[in-house]
Structure formats: C-alpha cells, structure tokens
Symmetry: C2
Subunit: 258 residues, 2 copies
C-alpha cells in the first residue's frame, strides 16, 4: 500500500462543498461534493471504494486553487504522477488534479497540515462582468487598503476568533494562530489573503466582511482591537458570500509531506 498526496483545484460553484454528504450515494440526492466526485473516480480506478481525506472542508460555493488530500492505494504498477492524467480523465472539468506524489505511509492531509491560506477576491469601483462575478465579489467603492491592513495587523499571532465564528461552528477551542493577513491589489482585483494554522467555520468570510464593514465607517484600529477582543459575535460585520473565496494553498511540516 502506498499513500498518495493530491494537489487539487476546483470551481466550487456547482458543489455543496468539499465534504461528502450523508446519503450522497443515493442517486436521488442532489448534493454534489468534491470529495464524493473524486472518490467515485478513485473507485473506478481501483474497482473498490477508496476513502479520500482532505486538509479541511470548504463550504458550498467556495473554490480551491490548492486543496490537498490523501488516499491509500494498492496500484503500484504506475508512477505516482500518472494518477494526475488518470484521474483527470475520469473527473468533470470543474475539478482538476494538479499534482500527485507518493508520501510517507502515515501522512495525513488534515492532521499534518501546518498552515492553510485563503484568498478572497474583490472587483472594486465598477460593475463586475459575468465572467468575473463567478469568482469575485463586487464592491462599488475601493476601500482604504491602508486602514484594512491596519486591521489585519491586529490579527497576527494567537487569537481568540470567537467573534468570527459562523453560527453553527462546533469547534472546542476558538483560538487560532494567524501567521499573516493582508489586503493587496493584483491586476484588476483587490485580494484579501490570510494564513492560519486552521480556521473556524466561515471565519475568512466573516473577517473580510467585518473589516470592510468597519473600514467603510473609518473605525480606528484601536476600536477594532476592542471589538475583536470582546468575543461578541453581534459586533461582527456581515459574512461575505462564498463565490469570492479560494482555498489557496496548504503547507505541511515537511516539504511535500514526504
């Protein structure tokens, strides 16, 4: 048995999210998850069910440019990188396998992950075109990037993120270590990028929505520091919609997890 680590990109628009839904094997069930669609391709290759474990869930409508997952295989007749064309040939166009590598047998895509990085994309100051609004949120005004980055600096370090937890979050602890957070312009997009050891449910979209909410009102960073520290969810701004969000990359303790 070998353990294979996959690097995966997907367009989340037509998925209920990463995670397989209970009852999804029943054909009448509508929910289509990324995990279940890739597991079906793996089952076709192996002629038996194969479980795929991802680095974490992404919500319905959220995209990925660098999701990571692993599975165990008894197919040892092909080099590991041949899983890329083999799986892509079986998968729909809205999922693409970017890389496949053999890793140490006990590698785990979720438990060995050191840092997750998300990006949220915005189109600012003009109407987003249809080919843009599938993957970005339109803002009529360009916000103050300096002020948003002053808010971002408040996040870095170990933080109680209760204020940014989605209502249904079931985490035992709401403390997360945030390595980096920044707003910057790339091409014709405004991008919010954030890296942490892990995220609460809907946390990235809640942070971005809260920062934009207070940024519009020119709230000073000192006030925002108190708001975050309060842990009072009712002070958070709106949670942004999923279409602008990408799971951008996942880093592991050992390069390539090998």
């Amino acid at each position: 048995m070998r353990t294979i680590k996959l690097l995966i990109a997907y367009d989340g628009t037509d998925f209920c999210g990463w995670q397989r839904q209970a009852g999804q094997d029943i054909p009448s069930q509508k929910a289509r998850s990324v995990q279940a669609v890739i597991e079906a391709a793996l089952e076709q290759m192996h002629t038996r069910p194969v479980a795929l474990a991802g680095s974490g869930r992404t919500d319905s409508g959220v995209h990925a440019a660098g999701q990571v997952a692993h599975f165990h295989t008894d197919i040892d007749s092909i080099p590991p990188d041949r899983f890329v064309p083999a799986l892509n040939g079986l998968l729909p166009q809205d999922i693409r396998i970017l890389d496949a590598a053999a890793v140490r047998p006990d590698f785990h895509a979720r438990f060995d992950a050191r840092m997750r990085t998300y990006r949220y994309h915005f189109i600012c100051g003009r109407r987003a075109l249809p080919h843009e609004s599938r993957y970005a949120l339109q803002l009529w005004q360009m916000p103050s990037i300096d002020l948003l980055n002053a808010y971002c600096r408040l996040l870095v370090g170990e933080r109680d993120c209760s204020i940014f937890a989605g209502a249904g979050d079931a985490s035992l602890s709401r403390s997360r270590y945030i390595f980096h957070a920044a707003f910057f312009v790339e091409g014709n997009r405004l991008i919010f990028e954030i890296s942490a050891n892990a995220f609460l449910w809907k946390m990235v979209r809640s942070i971005a929505g809260t920062f934009l909410h207070y940024g519009e009102r020119n709230t000073p960073p000192e006030r925002l520091r108190d708001i975050i520290a309060s842990g009072d969810r009712s002070l958070a701004g709106p949670t942004l919609p999923p279409q602008g969000l990408f799971l951008w990359k996942v880093d592991y303790y050992v390069a390539n997890g090998q």
Copy 2:
C-alpha cells in the same frame, strides 16, 4: 418612441450564442440564446414583444465584455439609465446590462458599427485551474510573442480573409478591414486582440489557431504572408475552441451613437 442602446456583458458558457434560434419560444427547445433571454426581459417590462438587434452574433460558448444592442421603447416615464437596474433585476446572473442610453431614433447597433474588437485569452506554461479554463485556453508552452506579432502585422489593412472563414460562412465578400492585431501579456494571461470593421464566421478563432500552429513550427512571416494570400482554407491551422473568446467592444461612428 425612443431608441435605447445597451452595453451588455455575458458568460457565453450556457448559451447557444447571441442569436435567437428558430423555435426557441417553444418551451421544450433546449437552445438558450442571449438575444432571446434579453428579449424576454424586455417583453416583461413592456408587456408586449420587443425586438433587440445586436452588433453581431457571437457563437455558442463565446463570451462578451462589451456587446452592443438596441431596441425601440414607448416607456418614456423613466430616464434611460434606469433600464440598467430594471433589466438586471429580470435577467439571469450570466447576463449583465452595463449601460443604457437614449440614442438617435434611427441608430442601428449592427449597421452603424465601425469597428469590432475581440480578445482571446490563453493560460501558458502550466495547467489552467478550473476557474481559469472556463474563460481561457491552456497552452503548455509560451509561444514566441515576437513571431506572433510579426504575423499580426501582416493582417493590418484591407485583406481577403478567405483562409480564415469557417466552413459554413455565408458572407458575399470575404474582404475585411483589419485595424489592429496583437499578442500581449496581461497579468498571468496571454491575450490576442484584434479589431476589424467586421469578421467572418469563426474568423478570430481561426486566425489565432493558425498563428499558433505556424508559430510553433517557427514558420517565417514571409511564408505566412503567402499562406494568407493563397486563400487556401486547407492551409489554415485549427480553429480554437470558444471558451477563450470575448467580444470585447464595439465602436460607432459617433461617440455613444447619439
């Protein structure tokens, strides 16, 4: 009666193209055209059928960032720019009205157009991600932009474009005036942009495919000049798929057609 000029963007993926198809008003008919969808929204506003004339057709799967169309209206109770939110409220997300303006009564989106500009988008040198491949074509190698631009310079002026006409093209004359053609890099995309008074069927995709075909083989521009002049369709390269193509803008003799 007023004449209203619309500026329109659409994601062509789920359309059979711009043009209304015969029998499209029969619900069992699958073909969904941009023109018919907007005409249905206009009919809802006017409570009678309203004909919409576009600057030209776009093919199935081809996108638009700046299509132009006009219609006649007896709704004179609202300022023309109110057609933008009114229509967008009735239209699906893959069509957006960007602008609406009253123009001279005899303005015609097709016959008054002076120049059409198309862009074809490429992702080069790496696997396109799912959110990119919906709107761009992946090329494994970055082509020689200098050589492609030497080919482009051969096109400028009045040209017999027979070699680039799709097999079903029914134009009387295959001579077109090409104002401008160039390959350039923008962000992480290679873009082919071309402006002409008008285009033959599938002409942009045939030019781009032919240039890439001969560019890969390092064919000198002098040889390509002879190939274009030959009018021999069998010497053309492959016609590229529609997903990378955008109708980018349409220019009129008088600014804003007013």
